[in-house]
């Protein structure tokens, strides 16, 4: 069985069930707008301070939206015990994992479609291609790690508690490099190219590592 087709099929299944229920995307969109609202009250934001505060609010909102999105990645499988059935098909565990990660990152990207324009709208920060590229590159790596650890904790009792504990420290490289890239895209000092290079490096590293580890996490 062609692993690419299997991965696409799994991703399609997840996105289709999301399309039918329309649970996650509206909830995530509402969540990020609320996060911006809280950021607005938590900081004293004016046109001078906005570029130095907005990147922080962006990453906080994105990280916690990601935790919500990845925490639900295996929810349907767990509730209906369908993961075992999926693993019994000839599709390799790595392909199933890749499909789940693809679908989860598509949901996160949809949430970014709301988050990034809302950020520029509310805080008056520039909305540029550099900003979008930095956030998308970070999403790839964050999605691969988030999906892996969502699978890791899927069968553990205290999964809501464990997922942030495990994933957040491993996301820090993406927040370090992505934060730097977003800051320089918003006009603060710092090298944009260097930060993007780091993001690409981390993406490659973690996509390879998570694909290698997926076999041990899913295979039961």
């Amino acid at each position: 069985m062609n692993p690419f087709r299997a991965a696409i099929a799994v991703a399609r299944k997840d996105l289709l069930s999301e399309w039918r229920t329309r649970e996650m995307v509206p909830a995530l969109a509402q969540f990020v707008v609320l996060a911006l609202l809280i950021g607005n009250f938590g900081f004293q934001i004016d046109s001078r301070s906005a570029p130095s505060i907005a990147p922080g609010i962006l990453w906080l909102a994105l990280v916690f939206a990601g935790l919500i999105a990845f925490g639900r990645t295996f929810a349907a499988e767990r509730e209906q015990s369908s993961l075992e059935a999926m693993l019994m098909t000839p599709a390799s565990p790595v392909a199933i994992f890749a499909g789940k990660a693809l679908a989860a990152s598509a949901l996160l990207i949809l949430c970014e479609v709301v988050l990034l324009p809302a950020l520029s709208l509310f805080f008056g920060t520039p909305f540029s291609a550099e900003l979008v590229i930095a956030v998308l590159l970070a999403t790839i790596g964050m999605a691969s790690l988030g999906c892996l650890f969502a699978a890791v904790v899927a069968r553990v009792r205290a999964r809501e508690l464990l997922l942030p504990l495990l994933v957040l420290p491993l996301w820090i490289p993406f927040i370090v490099a992505g934060g730097q890239a977003v800051q320089s895209a918003m006009g603060l000092p710092g090298s944009y190219d260097q930060a993007i290079g780091l993001l690409v490096d981390f993406d490659i590293l973690f996509v390879v590592l998570t694909s290698l580890a997926a076999r041990f996490v899913l295979d039961e």
Partner: protein, 234 residues
Amino acid sequence: MNRLEKAAAGAVALMLIAAAAIFFYAPTDYLQGPVQRIFYLHVSSAIAAFGCFAVVLAGGIVYLRNESPRADRYARAGALVGVVFTTVTLVMGMLWARNVWGAFWVWDARLTSTLVLLIIYAGYLLVRRLSEAGRQTARIAAVVGIFGFIDVPVVYFSVDWWATHHPGPVITSDALPPQMLATFLFTMLCTLVLAAVMVVIRYRIEMLMDMKQLIASGAPLTVAIPRRDPEPAQ
């Protein structure tokens, strides 16, 4: 005294000798004064923590390959001892920084990555506590331990990769006078012995806890308990 008690007493004695060397043999630093003496244990416990996390990594890899319960117990023991030594490193570093930099904490690459290291392995220990012991948990923990180890080289090379406040490598760059170097190497040796003894003792505790669980689950005991001192045959 059994073997482990003897080893523990020996390790404590070695640490006391190392303390004597740090305070009475090593010369006082010209610039920093007596606070520089923190360096010996600070760096040694960082290296010991790296060693412990390497045990977690190796235990995790071996466990994923052949599901050996011994490898998993070593990983558990290494994580706990490593967290202890990372905490020692951070606390001693903060005491030093308060005197030399004027602040307990700065958001510097090495300090931040070391804090992340502590959080990762504290998370590892939480995984073990929050999920029921067994094959599934051991596999999960192995994956966490393997991924967590990525941060160890980041901590080690952070002073080269980023501009940091933290002093660079003084050992490999030959910057220490011989008496300081000798004191450091001796302290490091003693700390590594202490860490190894702690890991072995923790391994024993983990084994006893595994046995307790086996007994509670009603498994046949004759297979579960390896006899350490077999009774002589009649």
